[in-house]
């Protein structure tokens, strides 16, 4: 396959299953691009993969500072990949600050590639280094350290390019990329094409980047310091079909576009920018030729209320946000509930409370999604579990909203939103239907008459003669929908609104279990922790522990069999990236003494953390069975 590499690799190469690489450098160093390009190559190579970008909160913190470090981790493998990896096998650090903030994560004996040229006195000082760590020998002992003067090599490669020093400086990430292409035997041809296309408007830059990219590749091959390159073969046990790489936010946006096609309606997005949700707005803004109208509102309240107006008008209605914006939408969600209009609310969760950690991930808006409104205000809540799953859950959100005439909350998170994975492109014909039947018949029309099965009222489009009616946020009469202050009517309405949401349980899949249906421990999770929990469970099962996992995508209502599943295990562990939220709902609903594993660090779980906790909890079960029941209560590993 000579297309695979233009120059046949001269050095030996070694096959490995899974590699975790982290690129890190200054915000200006282009690490997100490097990561993304390498990800593409891995995907094209047929690896399964998962990525985790990590941005600083500042747009561009001063160059060289710790605050300005930007990172991108990816795991790629010849096997199924669940997470971006606990710890990198390979760390590429483009400057001292990046080294300092990331080194602790590198595996012992891991590959450490540093850009020697950036280790200037000035940069060392900014990073808080008293002495140069590359020189005191400390690193050589623990890691396979490669000092490459990427800055200078780039400079040299482009000496004749006519570019300014500043412009040349911006090319150095392509050297890194080329080097990694060599190290992992990636095909450089498509990447060269890629670069040319990406910079097609700036041909000089395109040429320079290609040159540097190739220089990096050849450096790996030629330079004496690298002895081996590695081969990660295409993954084999993943389903056949056409794939693309996709982030959670992209998948969410595409799911919304799919909902447009599946329903035959137009879509209205009312949104206000907020990290990490803005990209959904950006992307949907591109698709006006799909019948999608995007409205950047003056604030989150205008975003959701404009969407409610559009829902009243008969459009698919959507609003997207993150934690603080979600809080602002609280009151209006009540209006959507009361008027029983379909509305999808997407909350891409981030670190809270308040402004919190805007660029970090967390699962701490679940209770807000459940309960964050005045009065009895039940709203279905669903959550995506992987980046690609955001597509499915966006479609599901619209399906439920339209079928049940209700607002629906879809929770994703920063980890899913920015992380990427290969996505098996769905067959459009297999997607669920979103059936829409606007009422047009004036005979016997009652605004709040309900479908016996779904308890949904009928949707009426203004413009329909004879169905003129008025709705609003005051309590409504059970049938006519007129304002009603009647006490019994109020209770009846509260109950039927709750019953409508509860009834959705009949319309969603039963909860699947990963592993045996009974056992010592059930690991119950939701949302973006799917990969880590599944992987950890699988590892423990492989070691013979009687543990299974179940991952919820429908949170309100729960799948009908959840109670039964919970009762089938001796102990239940609920790992969450919060201080314990799902656990509160599960304990209240099922009176199960579930235990929590909680991490609130703005970061996803590591598989090892979950494994350790599983082991501890299985240990408790065993101890109890051995009669030593004193090891009760809180076990947190």
């Amino acid at each position: 396959m000579d297309i695979q590499a233009p120059t046949a690799p001269a050095k030996p190469h070694e096959a490995v299953d899974t590699v975790v690489i982290r690129f890190c450098g200054d915000s200006g160093d282009g690490m997100q691009l490097t990561g993304t390009e390498f990800t593409k190559a891995a995907a094209l190579h047929g690896n399964d993969l998962s990525t985790l970008p990590d941005f600083p909160a500042e747009i561009r913190a001063p160059a060289g500072t710790l605050a300005g470090v930007s990172g991108f981790q990816l795991s790629f493998s010849s096997q199924v990949v669940y997470t971006p990896g606990d710890a990198p096998d390979v760390l590429v650090a483009m400057n001292p600050a990046a080294l300092r903030t990331n080194l602790a994560d590198l595996l012992p004996n891991g590959v450490l590639i540093v850009n020697l040229g950036a280790f200037t006195a000035n940069n060392l000082e900014k990073a808080g280094y008293k002495s140069n760590p590359l020189e005191d020998g400390s690193l050589d002992q623990k890691y396979r350290l490669y000092k490459v003067d990427i800055s200078k090599l780039t400079q040299t490669a482009l000496a004749d390019s006519g570019l300014s020093t500043k412009e040349i400086g911006r090319c150095k990430n392509f050297f890194t990329l080329g080097l990694m292409f060599w190290m992992y035997n990636r095909n450089i041809v498509p990447e060269v094409e890629n670069i040319k296309q990406k910079f097609s408007k700036l041909p000089a830059i395109a040429d320079a980047n290609v040159k540097v990219f190739k220089a990096g590749y050849h450096y790996g091959e030629t330079a004496e310091i690298f002895t081996t390159s590695y081969e990660v073969r295409p993954a084999t046990d993943i389903p056949k079909g056409k794939y693309r790489n996709i982030t959670g936010n992209e998948a969410t946006a595409l799911g919304c576009v799919a909902a447009v096609k599946l329903s035959g309606l137009r879509l209205f997005l009312g949104s206000y920018p907020i990290t990490p949700a803005s990209d959904i707005l950006h992307q949907l803004s591109l698709y006006k030729n799909f019948g999608i109208v995007t409205f950047q509102a003056e604030d989150e309240i205008a975003g959701i209320t404009a969407a409610i107006g559009a829902a009243f008008g008969g459009s698919l209605a959507l609003t997207t946000t993150s934690g603080p914006g979600m809080a602002l939408k609280s009151e209006a969600m009540g209006l959507a509930l009361m008027t029983e209009l379909p509305l999808v609310i997407i909350d891409v969760q981030r670190g809270g409370p308040s402004t919190g950690l805007p660029t970090k991930t967390e699962q701490s808006d679940l209770l807000q999604a459940y309960y964050g409104r005045n009065g009895e205000c039940p709203i279905p809540v669903i959550a995506a579990c992987t980046p690609a799953d955001c597509f499915n859950m966006a479609v599901e959100a619209f399906r439920l909203a339209v079928k049940y005439m209700t607002p629906v909350i879809l929770l994703t998170d920063g980890y899913l939103a920015n992380g990427a994975e290969p996505w098996l492109l769905p067959n459009i014909a297999d997607l669920p239907k979103i059936e829409v039947a606007f009422r047009t018949d004036p005979v016997g029309f009652q605004v709040y008459a309900r479908d016996a099965e779904t308890l949904a009222r009928q949707w009426v489009r203004p413009g329909t003669p004879g169905l003129e009616h008025r709705i609003g946020g005051l309590e409504k009469d059970f049938t006519s929908g007129n304002v009603s202050y009647d006490p019994d009517n109020h209770e009846a309405m509260i109950k039927i609104r709750a019953a409508k949401v509860a009834g959705i349980a009949k319309d969603i899949p039963l909860q699947a279990i990963n592993g045996e249906p009974t056992g010592d421990l059930l690991v119950l999770g939701w949302g973006g922790t799917y990969g880590a929990l599944t992987k950890a469970t699988d590892e423990c099962r492989a070691r013979g522990l009687k543990v299974s996992s179940a991952h919820l995508r429908h949170l309100n209502p729960f799948p009908a069999n959840l109670g039964e599943i919970l009762r089938s295990f001796k102990r239940v562990l609920i790992p969450e990236l919060n201080d314990g939220q799902l656990i509160k709902i599960v304990r209240a609903q099922f009176l199960v003494d579930a235990q929590g594993l909680n991490k609130i660090q703005g970061k996803p779980f590591k598989v090892a953390e979950v494994v350790a906790s599983i082991e501890a909890h299985v240990g408790v079960v065993k101890a109890a069975e051995g009669g030593r029941s004193h090891v009760q209560g809180e076990v947190r590993a």
Binding site: K40, A235, Y243, G270, G309, T339, P465, I471, N482
Partner: protein, 348 residues
């Protein structure tokens, strides 16, 4: 997609009457409330617009005034406090063929909802916005509002308000509103006229309506409504006409050398109509309209009528145009193509 809507221009098949616009709901305002008069006039002019009932939507927030939609036999949405302009914007932008009216109060529209109001106006979403200004919170039983005068004693200001009030017309002009007018609940004919002008204007039309809350702020506008004093305290603007007012129509408004307004008497000191300010609704620079918006008794008459009417592209129309253009260049969106775009690979 249904296309039976119109934008206030095409004629409805059957000529409707006022009764056709009266819903079956009991009207629940206090007896004597100025809202009744406004409702009556709105119901009266509706048939003139030639828009089918089903293509009209009234959207409101919360307040006495905001119960308005219940009484109109059209589509209606009684929203939450302050958010009517946003709800209406979403509706209008997603359904440009509907004629969308907003009814709001001085509290609903200028206190909690002030931001949505000014943003809808700057965007020029084609909404007809009626702000019932009674200078009080009616529904919550009598607190002062952002239009209440300094010193006003209310439930929440027992020692008098210390809040300088908004001038709603000035606020609207500050927000780059394209159509701005002022009228009064009791001035039946003027009210009708302004409603019709607004309905026929293409773009955001903002109307401040002085409305008497006879329970919590009775007589707030007496000086401009009382037969005895009104002609001296209001000047009815007409495009292209000089600003003349007064019982004997012998008073006028002119500008001083420093561009400050001044009340003069025709015939005194040789002053004639020629010296007076001539109203121009369509002036490119809105400075003049702004100057007029600030005239207030006792020194000046209040300016009633259309202060500004300058058409510019509406947000909803621009959105339609943008979509059309894109459809022209990219064609109708193809989901399969979209999903399969970017780099893909085959696992086999």
């Amino acid at each position: 997609m249904s296309t039976n809507g119109t934008n206030g221009t095409a004629a409805a098949p059957i000529k409707l009457t006022r009764k056709d616009f009266t819903s079956d709901q009991d009207v629940r305002w206090c007896p004597g409330c100025g809202d009744y008069a406004i409702l009556a006039q709105v119901q009266k002019v509706m048939p003139e617009l030639g828009v089918a009932r089903e293509n009209i939507v009234f959207v409101s927030g919360i307040g006495c005034s905001s119960r308005f939609p219940y009484y109109m036999n059209t589509y209606g949405f009684h929203g939450i406090h302050g958010r009517a302009p946003a709800i209406a914007s979403g509706l209008k932008i997603s359904r440009p063929e509907l004629q969308v009216w907003v009814v709001t109060g001085d509290g609903d529209g200028l206190s909690i909802g002030g931001n949505h109001l000014i943003h809808a106006l700057r965007r020029n979403v084609d909404l007809k916005i009626l702000l019932f200004n009674n200078r009080i919170y009616g529904l919550t039983k009598g607190q002062y509002s952002p239009t209440s005068e300094l010193g006003k004693k209310t439930k929440s200001t027992p020692y008098g308000s210390i809040d300088h009030p908004f001038n709603p017309i000035s606020v609207a002009l500050g927000a780059a509103a394209s159509f701005v007018a002022r009228t009064i609940d009791t001035e039946t004919k003027h009210l009708q006229e302004i409603l019709l002008r607004a309905a026929r204007f293409k773009g955001s039309a903002f109307i401040e309506i002085y409305q008497n809350c006879n329970v919590f702020n009775d007589g707030a506008f007496e000086v401009v409504t009382d037969k005895a004093t009104k002609s001296d305290n209001q000047v009815v603007l007409e495009h292209g006409k000089p600003l003349i007012f007064g019982k004997e129509r012998n008073k006028g408004v002119r500008l001083t050398g420093m561009f400050q307004p001044e009340v003069v008497t025709l015939g005194e000191n040789g002053i004639t109509e020629k010296d007076l300010l001539v109203h121009d609704e369509t002036a490119p620079n809105a400075g003049l309209a702004f100057l007029l918006s600030q005239l207030e008794p006792p020194a000046f008459p209040v300016a009633l009528g259309v202060l500004r009417a300058v058409e510019r592209p509406t947000y909803d129309q621009l959105a339609v145009d943008q979509e059309k253009k894109l459809l022209g260049s990219k064609g109708d969106g193809d989901l399969r193509k979209l999903l399969h775009s970017g780099e893909t690979w085959e696992v086999s």
